[in-house]
């Protein structure tokens, strides 16, 4: 309610703003609004999706130039030209986004910067774009009964467009698509393993950024009615970047605040552009070092600081007991092979991490994979889950050859995994971590955002209900809104398992789930894993805690030096001479020795 009032107040203020401004000031405000739209686009691709994009200014340029060329050369009306210009920008966005499929971070930064430079190079030289002089005399936009050549009226056009694109951006960020993008930003590997189509998401992010760039470009062409190369140079790109960073790249509102405040500062220092540049450059450095979340993050930091000073700490959240799943009544036929690994070899340059490994896992089984450190257990998981392509051999999952498929395809086919060193999405809450896993929608259906926004909202509500159930089942309800990093290690482990199961897999791969857990937590883990299996899922577990493996698994595969040296029931494996030798040969730590008696639950 309070938020609604603030929005309404801002809306009214924005509506009456022109009445207090002279003709120069309204021009400045119009330019600021355009920069704000650009900044939202950059915030979406960089802050939300984590794709370093230094060609936002080129998107802006394509939008503006395309409008200019289409209206002056082809004699089109402004609106038709504008729509075509936005389409052209989207094409450009898809082209500039393609490198993101191969490279990330610094590389992506430099490639997009290079392509932005290539764009300025082209417009300064091509006769179509008027060379260094640019294009003047762009047809003014017309609306029946409205005089858009007046900057006061044009302001309202921009204001409406701005409100719409900001609203749309916030809508994306707060629902499934934005959550997936943020998950990808935090950990692309884990997002892929949960079924997020990483390549598609990256392209979507670039496409969104280009739409914002295009819209801003069209508005700019309609406002200034003149385009020239220097409006789209690298200095302006860095100014835009500074706006997003200073405002707070992870918050769209922050991006807008950053754009407005920097643009105002630049206007104040209009006679001393280098001083302005020096100032915002220094602020960028200070922000990344001292306040990485930018202006948008300050209120929260301030509140946290106050809480800390006052010492007010709410009642500590508590981990509730796990509530077992309803056992699935289906009879398990052991003949049903869920996963078949056939002669998989994985070579890392000189090192053979896996050497002709074969194993078969039946539906409903709990399979243990043990072996000394460096025996290739995690490599095997990485091959099965698609993170590594095997050098030779095949992985057959649910009867289909899945060798070398992308992790997200395997995840969508019904496989989920946890990671040895925990890969939770750090900047998402516990609940959002689960929501990413629960969300089984294809990214392709993102068209609904534009055409059926209400269905997106409905679906998001349904997802939240399922997330609440999962939280309840795993006893995590009280941690729902906390950041995973703030939680104790044992709880983080549980969140990761809950997240993997929330993806509704047929096959669950657990990589050392008991590492770092205390005795009681290991006991709870055994209970959780058994219940997960009883609910109709198959589990493969890599573990060093022999007590746990011996009591939990029906079948055990022992790896050493990349080869399968034994497999069978716990009792069979434990007496196998090759196993004893591998363990004693590897270390003298007798704790790791398989214990023959299968009764003990934990060490």
């Amino acid at each position: 309610m309070k938020r609604l009032l603030v929005v309404a107040a801002l809306g009214v203020a924005a509506w009456f703003l022109p009445y207090g401004l002279d003709s120069y000031a309204i021009h400045v405000v119009n330019v600021i609004l355009i920069f704000a739209i650009l900044a939202i686009g950059l915030g979406l691709v960089m802050g939300i999706a984590g794709q370093v994009n230094l060609s936002q200014v080129a998107f802006f340029g394509v939008g503006a130039y395309a409008t200019a060329i289409l209206t002056t050369h082809s004699g089109m009306g402004f609106w038709v030209a504008g729509v075509l210009a936005i389409l052209a920008t989207v094409l450009m966005g898809l082209v500039i986004g393609t490198p993101a499929l191969r490279v990330q971070s610094h590389y992506l930064g430099i490639v997009t910067l290079g392509l932005a430079l290539a764009f300025t190079n082209w417009v300064t030289n091509a006769s179509l774009s008027g060379g260094a002089e640019g294009i003047s005399g762009i047809t003014a936009p017309t609306l029946p009964g409205v005089d858009l050549s007046s900057e006061y009226i044009y302001y309202y056009l921009e204001l409406i467009v701005f409100a719409v694109v900001l609203g749309f951006g916030l809508f994306v960020v707060r629902t499934a698509l934005g959550r997936r993008m943020r998950a990808m930003r935090d950990d692309a590997l884990a997002a892929g393993a949960l079924g997020a189509e990483v390549p598609m998401l990256r392209m979507t992010a670039f496409m969104l950024a280009s739409v914002y760039g295009g819209v801003a470009g069209v508005l700019y062409a309609g406002l200034i009615r003149y385009v020239a190369p220097e409006s789209f140079n690298i200095a302006n790109m860095f100014l835009l970047l500074a706006m997003v960073i200073i405002g707070g790249r992870q918050s769209l509102i922050g991006c807008v605040v950053g754009a407005v405040s920097l643009a105002l500062v630049r206007e104040l220092l209009v006679d001393h552009p280098t001083i302005a540049q020096l100032a915002y450059g220094s602020v960028v450095v200070l922000v990344v070092v001292f306040a990485p979340t930018g202006l948008a993050g300050l209120p929260r930091r301030f509140r946290a600081y106050l809480d800390h000073r006052r010492g007010t700490r709410g009642t500590a959240a508590q981990l509730r007991p796990f509530q077992p799943y309803e056992p699935e009544a289906v009879s398990r036929s052991t003949q049903d092979q869920l996963l078949r690994v056939e002669g998989v070899t994985k070579q890392f340059r000189g090192l053979k991490a896996l050497d002709d490994v074969s194993l078969t896992v039946s539906t409903g089984e709990i399979r243990g994979i043990v072996g000394p450190n460096g025996s290739g257990k995690t490599t095997l998981f990485n091959v099965i889950s698609g993170l590594y392509k095997p050098t030779s051999g095949r992985v057959i999952f649910r009867g289909a050859d899945m060798t070398g498929r992308a992790p997200y395809r395997l995840a969508r086919a019904g496989m989920a995994r946890t990671f040895q060193n925990l890969r939770l999405f750090g900047d998402l809450t516990v609940e959002e971590n689960l929501l990413v896993a629960l969300d089984r929608w294809s990214t392709l259906s993102a068209w609904r955002y534009a055409l059926r926004p209400l269905s997106v909202l409905r679906r998001d509500r349904a997802l939240r209900r399922s997330a609440a159930e999962v939280l309840e089942r795993y006893g995590l309800t009280e941690f729902a809104s906390l950041a995973p990093k703030s939680l104790p290690y044992g709880i983080q482990r549980r969140v990761e398992i809950a997240r993997a199961v929330a993806a509704d897999p047929a096959l669950l791969l657990l990589d050392e789930p008991a590492a770092g857990l205390n005795g009681e937590e290991v006991r709870q883990l055994a209970e959780i894993v058994r219940s997960i299996r009883d609910s109709g899922r198959t589990v493969i577990i890599i573990e060093h805690n022999m007590g746990l493996v011996m009591s939990l698994c029906e079948q055990i595969t022992v790896l050493a030096g990349g080869r399968v040296i034994a497999s069978g029931t716990p009792a069979e494996v434990a007496v196998e001479p090759a196993v004893i030798e591998a363990y004693l040969g590897d270390s003298m730590n007798t704790d790791d020795l398989p214990v023959p008696s299968a009764g003990e639950a934990t060490r």
Binding site: R102, V103, A118, N125, F238, L278, V288
Partner: protein, 289 residues
């Protein structure tokens, strides 16, 4: 054939400069996994410093260059020290931090030296040498010799001195390096200092070849980066080879595409990075799992 060879010769001296810029990038990258986006601006600072001392105070060219290297080395130290809290934590933020430094340096350059550029006369005024009909400027040979010398010194430093070996260790595994008592921060600072020094060397050398202006470093920086990637990021022989390759590519595109040479260079570079992100000698994958 004559034209072809002449084009190659024309590209080699600029290529050597790109190689020096690439070496600076690579050295910092292999030590701390960071691409210094302010590197290009440091090149500009170096170019201006060297040319200022050479032109206004009439110092010998070599001495002017050394002063420029020392001053930019100090700038490198400052950048590293300010961004140190982010090291090995958030690479994207560090990257943006270096862009911030780039913006600051760019503003400082314009404040101190103005927005217009200057031409620097060649310190070796001899007429071009004629070898088998190819005309080679004497200054090109000077550039090549200095670049080669700098590379040899860098390799010796990295392989023969304790500080250099420590830097290699940090490059391989910063945690293990800390565990055996190497001061990672200091090692990174050294890398940044040497990287900035190399940038100044490149800037000083390129002064007489190109026009010194505030925009100089931007173009050199991005081409040096392209060279580093082409050769395989972090690899020293790769940086040299990549630099020469980009220099020659540049010389060809300038001949064939005139005004569009930059466009063509960047497009070729993008395609290369997409086809082979690890470059010619690169070992590390780009997306570390």
């Amino acid at each position: 054939m004559q034209v072809f060879l002449q084009t190659i010769v024309g590209g080699v001296s600029l290529g050597a400069v790109y190689a020096l810029v690439a070496l600076g990038f690579s050295l910092v990258y292999r030590t701390m996994g960071l691409v210094n986006f302010a590197h290009g601006n440091v090149v500009t600072v170096g170019a201006y410093l060297a040319s200022t001392f050479y032109l206004s105070t009439k110092l010998p060219f070599a001495l002017a260059m050394i002063i420029a290297i020392v001053v930019t080395g100090a700038i490198g130290l400052v950048i590293e020290r300010v961004l140190r809290p982010l090291e090995n934590k958030d690479f994207d933020l560090m990257l943006i931090g270096t862009i911030g430094f780039g913006i600051v340096l760019d503003a400082l350059i314009i404040m101190i030296w103005g927005a217009t550029g200057r031409a620097v006369p060649s310190p070796v005024p001899t007429a071009p040498i004629d070898i088998f009909g190819l005309r080679i400027r004497t200054y090109d040979l000077v550039v090549l010799a200095i670049a080669a010398l700098a590379t040899v010194l860098l390799v010796l430093f990295l392989s023969r001195t304790k500080r250099g070996t420590a830097m290699q260790a940090v490059a391989m595994d910063h945690e293990a390096a800390t565990a055996v008592g190497i001061h990672v921060g200091r090692s990174n600072a050294t890398a940044f200092m040497i990287g900035a020094g190399l940038a100044a060397l490149a800037g000083g050398l390129v002064g007489p070849l190109l026009y010194v202006s505030p925009a100089l470093g931007g173009a050199l920086g991005i081409k040096g980066f392209a060279a580093a990637i082409l050769g395989g990021f972090g690899s020293i022989p790769g940086a040299i080879l990549g630099g020469l390759a980009i220099g020659i590519l540049d010389s060809f595109t300038a001949g064939h595409f005139q005004g569009y040479s930059e466009l063509v260079t960047f497009l070729v570079f993008t395609v290369i990075i997409m086809v082979r992100p690890t470059g010619i000698f690169g070992e590390r994958t780009v997306n570390r799992a």
